[in-house]
Amino acid sequence: MWNEESDWIGSFDSQLARLAECRMCSRDRGERPDATGMDLEVLEVAEEGSYGRVFRCLDIHTGALVTMKQITMVRLSQGVPAPIIREVSLLKELHHANIVKLLRVGLTENRYVNLVFEHLDYDLHHFIVNRGYPKDALTVKSFMYQILSAVAYCHSLKVLHRDLKPSNVLIDHSKRLIKLADFRLAGEFADDLLYTEKLGTSWYRAPEILCDSRQYSTQIDLWSVGCIFAEMVIGQPLVQAINCRDELEGIFKLLGTPTEETWPGITKLMPNLHIYYPKFDALGLETFVTDLEPSGLNLLSMMLCLDPSRRISAEAALKHAYFIDVNYVSLLLL
């Protein structure tokens, strides 16, 4: 990786040679690109986000619709919020048809960091709530395949999304194209990495996180994808609770209270499990998710498996029999 020419602590001679090549007596380089004006015409304020406002804009040069997230650095003590740095740096590295494109980053008045994204029509939450959810089984299948493709790609690069939910899944309506967005909580994972935040929205949060485990991996994203899958089919979140404890109770009612047999290590993770939670017998996914073909139900049960070590991976999920009739050619052409 390091040779004498490129190494910044390389030999004295190579430093001298490299500097000699630079135009030391000429004018220095100009301002960084996009440091001030973004060359965008603001059409409307789309929403007020947690870090600032989101605008729907028109790119003056290309005439294309774009989405601009304007992050306001209101807290002097904080600087650029860590989640924003993470999101931007990750999106600079992630290049996939099913991941939203970050077009450019700009700065205005040393106070706003502007993130310009490709524009998509709406998110999956809006699609489910306002459009009567995708009743067409093939649309569900296509959306699921695309979500899993993006997740598998992220995991192949050792990146966890950590906040998958319908509002973070964007849709290009005309192309029926799905794109993952909002990588603010995302990060690289390692096998021995301990995470110290309760991440993600509780309705889509994996049971191991709800159980206060600080050691988790790719499986947390698959649980969230399973929750999204179920929601697309039934038109509402599978388990809706106001806090983590109630969320876990809802999950245990659905899938049964875990034991050492069904989830090895659970008693160590939650020593007071049977004090806080009754021993529920599984109601079964099929009692709630009724309009799903058997292979789909099988895939869903493999995603919504309490034991993370037995939960299906994104890569394996893509090869599941449920996707046998997905039109791969049309997906590739998207």
Partner: protein, 232 residues
Amino acid sequence: MLTAGEYSNHSWPLQPETSLTELNLPRVLCILSSMLEKLVARNEKLVDILSQQLDGLNCGSVRLGNSLNTFHGVRAPSISIPKYLERIYKYTNCSPSCFVVGYVYIDRLTHRHPDSLVTSLNVHRLLVTSVMVASKMLDDEHYNNAVYARVGGVSNTELNKLELELLFLLDFRVMVSSRVFESYCFHLEKEMVINGTGMKIERALTPKAMDDLETEISVEDKQSPSPPQIVD
């Protein structure tokens, strides 16, 4: 502010002769400070040679690239690089990996802007900014800019400006994969072997436990450490 001057005797808890290795500090600090000191010394010698050559040719003074101008101080701070790294580690509680990743950022900067040199005028500001950004990337719980500013001897406003400058100079490419991290560790260790000290760097890319701290503690918070001021 981070300018020339000494720590007053009462404000710095360590005796001057205490070396990094004698303290219970991560080995990466020792390796990194040694390398940065050599780099700065070499770059300053380089600038001197070029200045002399240009003087002889009546070409005026050396004008290097202005990419790192924001990080330049008027004078070099009197605090040494080892002491400065030790100070950052001691008071910010960031994981040792942050120093390796901070080094990666400085390396990327010098490759993206090869006409700019790391010198005694900018090395301290580059270090505190790059370690702070690395901590934001790596550690789920970290101190905010106000604490880093106080530790680094710069104002909060200035550090915010330096952070933005670093991010834009790097085009926000501050993600460091495990593979790249490992190769930099190997490179740093190899450098120490060449210099006769076979040291291994702490490898874990794990955040340090900060059970007694809240995320994003401000300097006013009673739980936050109160580092000695860097005085003129």
